[in-house]
Amino acid sequence: MAENSRPSKEALMQTALDAVPETGEISYREWYEGLVQSGNHAAVGFYRELKSRGLVSSAVVANPDGTISHKIGRAR
């Protein structure tokens, strides 16, 4: 009988957190696409959980050229 290889919720959340650098910040889009391209699409759904637990924080900034920066980092 084959084992159920589906990752647990906590494992997915850890995967999502591990993709956020220990120091500094990363653009949300880069974080998201990195997880998708590495085969961890399911982990992106846990961003809001990480935020609600106080593990990550975000910053939305309007740039002078009219673009928007959306960055996330480990909460201090």
Partner: protein, 163 residues
């Protein structure tokens, strides 16, 4: 009295719908002014509609970045509803008309909150946006400074279907 930034969008039938964001009255006017195109950059990717006008009692011309031409599939009845909780527990809702259905999780009536464009918009609702040298943080339209702290739900909110 709270200050509102508004956007009026239209669909391919030229039907119009306006939605607003409320901010504390103490927010500097320079920040409010700079916030209009900034919030437009957050909302534009989520919608199929064309922008008719935007501003805070004064129209702001954004035709260079978001013109009035609407996608053929746009419809002001196709909305996403964001339910938000304020600091003191009040519930406030925002409906975005002409919402692009590609931002719904397939097979559900839920907005895909993980999508990068959606996530940026939600984080703006919860934490505000840094613009014009200040922080523009949405509040409820209750006439007081009820800061939005959490987006609890983001769902499909289609209007009445005509048969």
């Amino acid at each position: 009295m709270a200050v509102a930034i508004y956007f009026t969008v239209q669909d391919s039938d030229a039907d119009k719908s306006t939605f607003e964001f409320w901010f504390p009255s103490a927010t500097a006017m320079a920040v409010i002014t700079a916030g209009v195109p900034a919030i437009a950059a957050l909302v534009n990717p989520l919608l199929n509609g064309g922008l008719v006008n935007a501003g805070f009692k004064v129209e702001v011309d954004l035709s260079g970045t978001w013109g009035p031409i609407a996608a053929l599939i746009s419809d002001v009845q196709e909305k996403a509803e964001f339910s938000m909780r304020t600091l003191n527990g009040f519930l406030t809702r925002l409906n975005l008309p002409t919402f692009d259905e590609n931002f719904f999780t397939v097979g559900t009536g839920q907005v895909d909150t993980a999508d990068p464009d959606v996530a940026a918009f939600i984080d703006f609702l919860e934490d505000g946006i840094t613009v014009g040298g200040g922080l523009l943080a949405p509040s409820s339209p209750r006439g007081a400074t009820e800061d939005v702290v959490t987006v609890e739900k983001a769902i499909e909110n289609w209007g009445k279907r005509r048969r």
